[in-house]
């Protein structure tokens, strides 16, 4: 049986930063393949380059060298307008600090990507409602983020990430600001959404136990290099 084309294919990806005289290799020749609808956890201590790698996949940053294929498209060669379209339509992103816009209501926050994607106004309320139902938030929609608990805010952020029906969900320390119970609830939700929608999920975390129990596979980075990859099953055995 032929293996399906990977959702994400990293080929000797490097990202160097100039720090005064010296050059910091935040990501150093990383090659990695993420099959479609896999839940991959990127592990590593702080400064290991895992967030930089995630930003490269998200199209928020460009690699110094190497190529990044997402759904067959080399995003390293996209123009900035094409890259914005890629972020809008192919990628959904959630963050440790949720990054909801504090002045907007929950509904407005979730609607924002639809505005950017120029989705017809008449279509938007249904899409917003659908996304919020998926994260099981159907009340307090007119409230502002500050009036919600951390877990609720992260669910709103997930709804916002889903509303444009992306194929890839990128999560940057999604449980970092949550207590462990809430963090587990969020990851449970992510797994559910993955099986409902068939999304590929790449999650950056430094909490190995969480990664082992929720992700399919763990990739560990250190000093910008990919140290190891292992399936969660193998690790738990």
């Amino acid at each position: 049986m032929p293996t399906p084309a990977p959702a994400i294919q990293l080929d000797r990806v490097s990202r160097h930063y100039a720090m005064g005289e010296t050059s910091v290799r935040a990501v150093n020749e990383v090659s990695l393949s993420v099959p479609e609808s896999e839940f991959l956890a990127l592990l590593g201590s702080s400064g290991s380059g895992k967030s930089t790698l995630l930003n490269l996949i998200a199209g928020l940053d460009r690699p110094t060298s190497g190529s990044i294929f997402a759904l067959g498209q080399n995003i390293a060669s996209l123009s900035s307008i094409e890259l914005a379209r890629y972020r809008r339509n192919t990628i959904g992103m959630i963050f440790q600090s949720f990054n909801l816009l504090p002045r907007m209501t929950l509904e407005e926050n979730v609607e924002l990507p639809l505005r950017l994607a120029e989705i017809d106004r008449s279509e938007r309320p249904a899409r917003v409602r659908e996304a919020l139902e998926r994260v099981r938030l159907t009340h307090r929609l007119g409230h502002r983020p500050a009036e919600l608990s951390g877990g609720e805010q992260q669910r709103v952020a997930i709804a916002r990430a889903l509303v444009n029906r992306p194929k890839i969900l990128l999560a940057d320390e999604p449980t970092g600001n949550l207590d462990s119970a809430t963090g587990e609830a969020i990851l449970t939700l992510l797994r559910e959404l993955r099986s409902q929608l068939g999304m590929t999920i790449v999650m950056v975390t430094h909490e190995r136990p969480l990664a082992e129990s929720f992700a399919d596979r763990l990739a560990t980075l250190g000093d910008g290099k990919l140290l190891s990859t292992a399936s969660a099953k193998a690790l738990s055995q």
Binding site: N55, A58, L60, D61, S80, I81, A84, R85, Y86, R87, R88, N89, I91, M93, F95, S97, N99, L101, R103, M104, L112, P113, R115, L116, A117, E118, R121, R160, N164
Partner: protein, 453 residues
């Protein structure tokens, strides 16, 4: 992003930092207001000056005289001798002038010194004939009483200074009669009957004329404070104004007549010593003057004076514009400052927008629209403030003028073009002010912006 979403978000952002954005918008408004107020004074003063000048008839009138005026006086002719007899200023010439483009009217000058009796006391004054068209020239705006009831009415309008000589309460003169004592010319020989020659005509051939004292009762119908009959014919102002035709019918002896006696015209036709040609506006005076000169007459106008006046106002406008622009420049800095501050404050938001798929141009447009909206609102407010400021200055000036027993004036004027220009400038300046912050916001690296706490 679609324009509606863009403006939606821009307005939302403006509302969120309401205090700062309101202050910035007010800054623009104050800048625009001072710009509008200062320019409106320039416009108002210019309108005032040109109104007064056109009322005086100085700048739209050409005085035409025949070329041979001085020959009989044994003076050297200012024109080279052509050998041809010079053209007489007769009825044909008058009709030709009337046919020239942009000529409003052609009329002879009637002004004469004479004696007026009122309450049995004699007063010396200058009588001037006013053409009917002067009714609409604006010179009689704000007069007491009314304009002549007809072109031949035996009525008089007094210039205020003269009216003050007649009575301490000039307004009490309205409706009263005065007696005009004048010297009527009667041609020698007496073959011509009075009235069949045009007003102000000099009798020809040079048989001369006799002068017969006459009297005429005139009803005072108006008192005017301006000097509608101010002229450059060397007589000073007319202080007692009569309808031109009525004045002409008097056949009063004029100063010019003395000259006409010694004139050696060969023609037996009626001719004028001078004619006033009025142009539609001062700008047409030059071309009319040139045409008349080509016909072989002498023509004078005070166009040069009006030219230097226009230069004065152009420079004045320029200076006034520079001061007005300074206020706008400060308002521009306010917008730049507000938006640069907004970038710092909204760094994270910009990062989030970009992570959600906003393009550089989306972010740029968002800031641009915010600057434009502040400019537009500030512009509208500024025009209104400026207008109010102008009204207040006019009000204050007039209160002062009234205390000095002077007539109120329209100090400021905000014509529609000024309002539109101020709005356009406010928006353009704001957009220009938004240029730098917007491009800075657009170039913001989303990774840095998201890391920023």
């Amino acid at each position: 992003m679609k324009p509606r979403d863009l403006t939606d978000l821009a307005f939302r952002n403006l509302r969120e930092s309401a205090l700062r954005n309101t202050l910035t918008t007010l800054g623009v408004a104050v800048g625009v207001a001072s710009f509008v107020a200062i320019i409106s004074i320039g416009v108002g003063l210019q309108q005032l000056a040109s109104k007064r000048l056109s009322e005086s008839g100085l700048f739209d009138t050409i005085l035409v005289t025949p070329k041979n005026n001085f020959r009989g006086m044994n003076r050297p002719s200012p024109e080279p001798e052509t050998g041809k007899p010079p053209r007489p200023l007769d009825e044909d010439a008058r009709k030709e002038f009337e046919k020239l483009p942009n000529v409003v009217e052609v009329y002879p000058q009637i002004r004469f010194f004479t004696e007026v009796r009122f309450n049995n006391k004699p007063y010396a004054t200058v009588v001037a004939g006013m053409p009917d068209s002067s009714r609409n020239s604006g010179a009689f705006d704000g007069m007491q009483g009314h304009f002549f009831s007809s072109t031949t009415a035996d009525e008089a309008i007094l210039q205020i200074e003269f009216a003050k000589e007649l009575s301490e309460q000039p307004s009490s003169l309205l409706g009263q009669d005065l007696i005009l004592r004048y010297a009527e010319r009667q041609a020698l020989p007496s073959s011509t009957t009075p009235g069949d020659t045009p007003a102000n005509s000099a009798e020809s051939p040079a048989g001369g004329f006799s002068i017969v004292p006459k009297e005429l009762h005139l009803k005072i119908v108006g008192i005017v404070e301006t000097e509608p009959a101010a002229g450059y014919a060397g007589y000073g102002n007319g202080r007692l104004l009569m309808p031109l035709e009525a004045a002409g019918a008097l056949r009063a002896a004029q100063v010019n007549d003395l000259r006409d006696i010694v004139r050696d015209s060969a023609s037996n036709k009626t001719s004028y010593s001078s004619l006033s040609v009025r142009a539609k506006s001062p700008s047409q005076v030059q071309s009319i003057e040139d045409s008349i000169k080509k016909m072989g007459f002498r023509a004078f106008s005070l166009l040069d004076a009006s030219k230097s006046l226009r230069i004065f106002f152009t420079v004045f406008d320029l200076l006034v514009g520079i001061f007005g622009s300074l206020a706008l420049a400060i308002a521009t800095l306010g917008i730049v400052n507000t938006l640069v501050m907004a970038i710092l404050e909204r760094r994270r938001e910009i990062g989030v927008l970009k992570a959600l798929g906003a393009s550089d141009s989306d972010v740029q447009q968002l800031f641009f629209v915010e600057a434009g909206v502040m400019g537009l609102l500030g512009g509208v407010l500024g025009v209104v403030f400026g207008w109010i400021l102008g009204r207040a200055m006019t009000y204050g000036t007039n209160a002062y003028l009234l205390r000095q027993n002077l007539n109120p004036i329209e100090l400021t004027a905000v014509p529609w073009w000024l309002a539109l220009a101020a709005l356009a400038i406010a928006v353009l300046v704001s957009l220009a002010a938004g240029l730098y912050p917007a491009s800075r916001a657009a170039k913001l690296n989303p990774v840095d912006a998201l890391r920023y706490e």
